[in-house]
């Protein structure tokens, strides 16, 4: 079969040889990453630089970050189907693909980190009722299922599948249930994003991360949700623009990116407001009550106050204010640059809670620990990135991800 018959109609795609040239290095990277992952599965976590003391490393940091970025999927679906922001339909398909790749990548890394993937069912059959991760596991599994169901109609929209009546009709009927799936996805995401934050907030043995309860959960539960809501639209914005730059095509109207930036900016400011209150409460009350004045955590050069300044101000307030300014948003450089800063801020927040929390000593006999990932960990990390790039590239090439692309091409 002629490969061009698989391409979406009315749009232009690079010749297959050029596409193969693009995919090849990512496939090599994926291969290298899988080798590193297989070594970890076969010979255990000795292949990594994690140990009983430093139990969270690069992988958990990666998990938290890409799950936060992947929130764009459920949030865009929520905005389109529940809040009726129909202009975001232009990026909805792309957001679903990004979400699916982010979550499946996160689950794959968890399989390697937790180990013994053949016993994954233990998590459901013998859940640890005292851990936030029990709820995270259930929610992630359900949400991954939701994403797969949301991805299915997109695959069935492929030009060749559309010619088969039963596939077209099934896609048609399944699409009518998208609002239901969007609502379920929003419900599940609310809880698993929050529970990942709650995981750190309940760690009494780590006063740096520990937070007081707000209703049933620690404040980090809500802060993780808010930061994910702020990061999601920015991630969709940045990836869309990145694809436009790589393919040298306009895929969406500028107003769509502008809307994403505005939503991200508003939510970021709301997040920063509550984050600031939370930080002040932690500095003045929670941490001293645990026996640690907050300034002690920032005495080391590696994790000085610059990190707090960076998280709240440089990668928080600055891009938030830029994204709220319409004139600046209308400029693509400011818009995309600010969105990248938003993502950097959320990534930094996840780093602080994962790595910095464990590095800082708490017991009198503890020492400050440094951690550098092993090559096997880095390989597995890059495998997830490569998996994401390959998955997205294939989806972009063969599926109609951007409905506005045709009209923009012909205008």
């Amino acid at each position: 079969m002629d490969e061009t018959l698989l391409l979406p109609r009315g749009v232009h795609r690079a010749p297959f040889s050029r596409f193969a040239l693009w995919i090849f290095p990512w496939v090599m990277l994926l291969g290298w990453g899988l080798y590193g992952a297989v070594r970890c599965l076969l010979w255990g976590l000795n292949e990594t630089n994690m140990d009983n003391r430093f139990a969270f490393g690069l992988w958990i940091y990666l998990d938290l970050t890409i799950i936060a970025f992947g929130a764009g999927a459920f949030f865009t679906g929520f905005l389109v189907y529940i809040m009726k922001r129909s202009e975001l339909k232009a990026v909805l398909n792309s957001a679903v693909v990004l979400g699916l790749l982010c979550y499946s990548g996160a689950v794959a890394v968890l399989m390697v980190d937790v180990g013994q993937p053949l016993r994954t069912w233990f998590t459901f059959w013998h859940p640890n009722t005292h851990s936030m991760l029990a709820e995270v596991t259930f929610c992630l599994t359900c949400y991954l299922t939701v994403l797969l169901i949301e991805y299915a109609p997109l695959v069935l929209k492929n030009r060749q599948f559309r010619k088969i009546p039963r596939y077209l009709v099934f896609e048609f009927e399944l699409h009518k249930f998208m609002p239901v799936l969007a609502a379920v996805g929003a419900f599940l995401s609310f809880f698993h994003q929050g529970s990942l934050g709650g995981l750190y907030g309940v760690m009494r043995g780590r006063p740096f991360a520990f937070r007081e309860d707000l209703f049933l959960w620690p404040s980090t539960f809500f802060l993780f949700i808010l930061s994910a809501l702020a990061a999601g639209p920015s991630f969709v914005l940045v990836t869309t623009r990145l694809v436009e730059v790589i393919t040298r095509k306009r895929l969406v109207k500028l107003e769509v990116l502008n809307t994403l930036g505005k939503i991200s900016g508003i939510l970021l400011i709301v997040y920063l407001f509550f984050k600031s209150i939370d930080t002040l409460v932690w500095i003045n009350s929670t941490s001293p009550a645990s026996g640690f004045p907050a300034f002690e955590y920032y005495e080391r050069k590696e994790f000085g106050t610059w990190i707090l300044f960076g998280e709240i101000f440089l990668f928080g307030l600055v891009p938030g204010l830029i994204l709220l300014n319409k004139k600046l948003r209308d400029n693509t450089t400011w818009l995309v640059g600010s969105a990248i800063l938003v993502l950097a801020g959320v990534a930094l927040n996840r780093f602080v809670l994962t790595i910095q929390t464990l590095a800082l000593p708490t017991m009198v006999f503890d020492q400050f620990l440094s951690y550098l990932p092993s090559w096997q960990e880095i390989a597995t990390f890059t495998a997830v990135i490569a998996f994401g790039v390959i998955g997205y590239s294939l989806s972009y090439r063969y599926l109609p991800l951007f409905p506005q692309e045709r009209d923009l091409l012909q205008s």
């Binding site: 109609r9 009315g10 232009h12 059959w125 013998h126 859940p127 009722t129 029990a134 709820e135 259930f138 359900c142 299922t145 939701v146 169901i149 559309r162 010619k163 009546p165 039963r166 077209l168 009709v169 099934f170 048609f172 009927e173 399944l174 009518k176 249930f177 239901v180 799936l181 379920v184 419900f187 599940l188 109609p400 045709r406 009209d407 091409l409 012909q410």
Partner: protein
């Protein structure tokens, strides 16, 4: 957490947690099941053709979905949102009721547009099929001149059988050219009562379900539409690196397949509104 786990005791929290996931799981399963059941019913009741048309229409670019009232000058720019089913469009109804005397079908009607002849007695479907009323209440259906030039001399034709019921916007007949099957869209709903397999400018004779052809283009708007189709064709044939051009006349060549080269398949799919 779960009832079969050792030392499990029911607590309200278990009911909430398990209940929530049972509800989510049930919703997901029910969604898939209902979609499957409904699609089975749709296939059984023949609604697939309607869905194929809806899918094809939604995938059309805006340029191909221009409202007929833009052709007749009532709007400067308007995109059809009713799948060209003007009989179901409130705007079309309001416009025709508001100005019944102002006919879009009077005035001089060009008999040719860019070398494409236009017959004033025909009704045109956007998929380049036409309809002509016959005395006995039946309709003749054929492919218009632009469509003929796009297809050329077909390698094979697949006709419907006499007695077959055609759906509006469903497949009337198919032609094969250079290994590509092109589905010609039916402009009306009705029963096939005659097939022309010989020479001639019509293909099917149909007894329509309804006598109303108001959803089809007729009169002066046809020439405006045909001109826009020629422009659309021109854009499809232009290489993307060339960009937008402004041709100031010319005639559509007879052998469009040769002119289009390797793009002809894509051009045919676009012009015949294929799904």
């Amino acid at each position: 957490m779960l009832p079969w786990v050792y030392e499990f005791r029911w607590e309200p929290w278990h009911l909430v947690f398990l209940g929530a996931f049972m509800v989510v799981g049930s919703i997901l399963l029910l969604t898939l099941f209902r979609a499957f059941l409904r699609s089975t019913k749709d296939l059984r009741t023949g609604r697939a053709a309607n869905m194929q048309w809806e899918a094809a229409f939604e995938s059309l670019p805006e340029r191909a979905r221009t409202c007929r009232h833009e052709f007749s000058g009532e709007f400067s720019h308007r995109v059809c949102v009713n799948r060209f089913q003007c009989d179901q469009c409130a705007t079309h109804k309001n416009l025709t009721e508001a100005a019944p005397g102002r006919s879009r079908r009077t005035g001089l009607i060009p008999l040719s547009v860019a070398g494409i002849p236009i017959r004033p007695d025909r009704y045109h479907h956007r998929g380049h099929t036409w309809v002509h009323r016959e005395a006995g209440g039946t309709l003749k259906i054929g492919i218009d001149e632009l469509g003929k030039r796009l297809v050329g001399r077909p390698d094979a034709v697949e006709y419907p059988t006499v007695g077959k019921h055609l759906m509006a916007n469903g497949t009337a007949w198919s032609v094969r050219k250079d290994g590509q099957w092109i589905k010609m869209l039916s402009p009306v709903e009705g029963e096939v009562v005659g097939i022309n397999t010989g020479e001639g400018n019509w293909v099917l004779r149909v007894r329509p379900t309804r006598n109303d052809l108001s959803h089809l283009l007729h009169g002066k708007e046809v020439s405006v539409w045909m001109m826009s189709e020629v422009e659309r064709l021109q854009q499809l044939l232009t290489a993307p690196e060339v960009g937008v051009t402004l041709p100031d006349g010319g005639l559509v060549v007879d052998d469009l397949a040769q002119a289009a080269g390797s793009k002809i398949r894509e051009v045919r799919d676009e012009m015949f509104l294929a799904p």
